[in-house]
Assembly symmetry: C2
């Protein structure tokens, strides 16, 4: 397995790779009295390429539209991010605000406007409080430094309860390469609705088209495994910056080195994706739903997503109930080709259902398995050889409670004269 590189975890996040700097500060975006960090900047001091994947939602936030165009048209060298306002459903004004933000940062850093990507996360439908953001932008660029990666991880948080960052190092063709990342997610419990942002930096040297290709593959086996039905929020964005500062020669397409970088990026993304699930809103369980023996890949995917997305299944996990009846029920309505009498369901290796019927395993032993904070549901359809895996969580009463109202933000927005 020479294509599987040996990764070593190192300290830090987006500033771990050589040549990257960051800064974060509080602009009081949600509320002028809120002292939390909510504005962040990631910057490569040397020329850099950036590629990304963006939400497939037909309602796209202004910064997504702007960044998508900039990433395509130019070599993005800086990313300005805010939390507290999604700048989504804000019309022409929202686009103007996003472009203006990029423009100010670009001038400060001596870049072209299109070299600055813009990302936002927060409430939908309220215009950006530019009156509070604009004056802070020059300060942000002045604060840039190699030790502020962690601040970025903090500044992009919304309902997250902890920062998510990671950095790894690996050897590619005799060169030491570093990859750093930070991410935020408002919980992947209702996966299609969360805003997910992930920023990855690396000092590997690779062409833009080649990086774009491997990023798509890496996202498919990481973030797409938690965005259950492939839908994304209005703001979901993954951006990867590569500045080549490791000193290596340019990685060739389909080379061994290319596969190693892809494996490392996949690993980093999967770790970030899993950490989003773990920090899902009011989540108590991290559950791997593994489907085996499906006729086709798409059947396996349908079954895994139906189970992982079922409110009743998720509620039962919250209640430590090893309820395979609800699981097989979701398997049945998944629209995949299944035969009830062939279905086996195991909970962390213990048989709960064999051939569509209750297994003889002791109920206490099954209950103990779902009482653990982490467990695996394995569904074998015995219809073929295809498989699929998704990572999900339980659904708690506290989740609903937590999401009952954003009304206070709207009240503040009206106070600010924004809506």
């Amino acid at each position: 397995m020479s294509d599987q590189p040996t990764l070593k975890k190192i300290k830090g996040g987006v500033c771990a790779p050589r040549g990257f700097q960051a800064a974060a500060l509080s602009a009081g975006i949600k509320n002028p009295d809120d002292p939390r960090l909510d504005l962040a900047l990631i910057y490569s001091a040397t020329p850099c390429i950036t590629v990304g994947t963006f939400t497939t939602n037909r309602v796209k936030a202004a910064p997504v539209k702007v960044s998508q165009a900039y990433v395509k048209a130019d070599n993005v060298q800086a990313i300005i991010i805010n939390s507290g306002n999604a700048n989504a459903c804000t019309g022409v004004e929202g686009l103007t605000d996003a472009r203006k933000t990029a423009n100010i940062i670009a001038k400060e850093l001596g870049l072209r406007q299109r070299q600055v990507a813009v990302c936002s996360t927060g409430v939908i439908g309220i215009p950006m409080p530019m009156v509070r953001i604009e004056p802070k932008l020059p300060e942000l660029t002045k604060n840039l430094g190699e030790k502020n990666g962690e601040d970025v991880a903090h500044a992009i948080m919304t309902s997250d309860t902890c920062k998510k960052e990671i950095a790894v190092t690996l050897d590619i063709g005799g060169h030491n390469v570093r990859i750093g990342a930070c991410a935020k997610g408002a919980g992947m419990i209702c996966p299609s609705m969360a805003t997910m942002l992930c920023f990855i930096t690396t000092d590997a040297k690779i062409s833009k088209s080649n990086l774009q290709k491997i990023i798509h593959e890496a996202v498919d086996t990481s973030f797409n495994r938690i965005t259950i039905d492939g839908d994304m929020s209005t703001n979901d964005t993954v951006l990867v910056m590569a500045n080549g500062e490791s000193g290596m020669p340019t990685i060739k397409r389909n080379s061994k080195e290319c596969k190693q970088l892809r494996a490392a990026l996949s690993h980093v993304m999967l770790e970030m994706a899993k950490s989003l699930v773990r920090d899902g809103e009011r989540v108590t369980k991290f559950v791997t739903v593994e489907v085996k023996g499906a006729k086709t890949y798409h059947d396996a995917k349908k079954v895994a997503e139906a189970v992982a997305n079922s409110a009743l299944v998720k509620s039962s996990w919250n209640g430590n109930d090893p309820n395979w009846g609800r699981i097989i029920h979701a398997v049945g309505y998944s629209r995949a080709m299944v035969r009830e009498e062939l279905i086996d369901i195991h909970i962390s290796g213990k048989a709960a259902c064999l051939g569509g019927l209750q297994a003889k395993t002791s109920m206490d032993s099954l209950r103990k398995a779902v009482q653990k904070p982490t467990f695996t549901i394995t569904i074998n359809l015995h219809q073929g050889k295809a498989g699929y895996e998704v990572y999900t969580s339980d659904l708690s009463p506290e989740y609903i409670d937590f999401n009952r109202s954003e009304y206070a933000y709207w009240k503040q927005a009206r106070k600010d004269g924004l809506v």
Copy 2:
């Protein structure tokens, strides 16, 4: 509008039409000490035709498989129903139990086995406690009477908090025709997971093939409007019995009389469907999601279902939050053809979002609209002329809490030696 008959509501349920009898008793199906009614019988004393629609779930409960065959093969004249156990995922044993139940009832009533349909609702995966059910079946037939319709409505309840029954009378071609119905639903909050049963009786005279045709049309504009993604539970069943006791001549296909009966059946089903939503598990709001101006019927359907099925949208309704941002977000990921800048969203007639942007309506007035127990969300896509409407509810912390565990039933089942 001569095809739209004038319906008069009358007292009663399935026994309101001439010639129908019913009985219900407690067999302690869930638990031998539980005194609640859980076994019911509906019977036409005179020959009768019965048609039905059944779950589209690939995992079908034994009674669904059995009844589907019986309804097709013979003229069903009695329906035996139990709550407390779904008889789903119970293998060959489950089929044997369902057939045996039909057989015993048939013998008691002097019918062929295939003239007795069997319906079950309750927990999945536990074999039927036949030891408690069998001895009660003769007693059930002996209790048959014309005043027991309400008992049936009670006996089929599971997590329902109130019985659902209705009876109407109308004039068809100078003949007085009656229709009665009862239904149960475990809440349509996560619509694909609830078990829904509905039994309708009528003394109209109509052929089986003609009744089957109009039933499909009626279900499509009633129950399918609350089973959001068209998926159904392992047990969902709608059965309609017609015994011709009104004394009318047989209704001809596509006649004015046929349209009148269809309209009346649609009305009865829609009333039952709405009552299921209103009694949804821990529901506080009844919400109509109305989509207009879609390019196609399917686009309208996708948008309505995405909004009505969104946990975040439902949570906001629970919190009296007039959050159009979450609604437009769900519209965006519905996979329908939409253009953000054309979308209008009204809450009970008040503009919340116009052209994809916050409307100028006062926030208090929007909040007041969603504070009401019943309101309508109207989404105009301004892309065409197609529309669709679904009926749904909010999602409460109490719903999750309520659904956290069925473990006690399983414990009882093991005690009974069933699993």
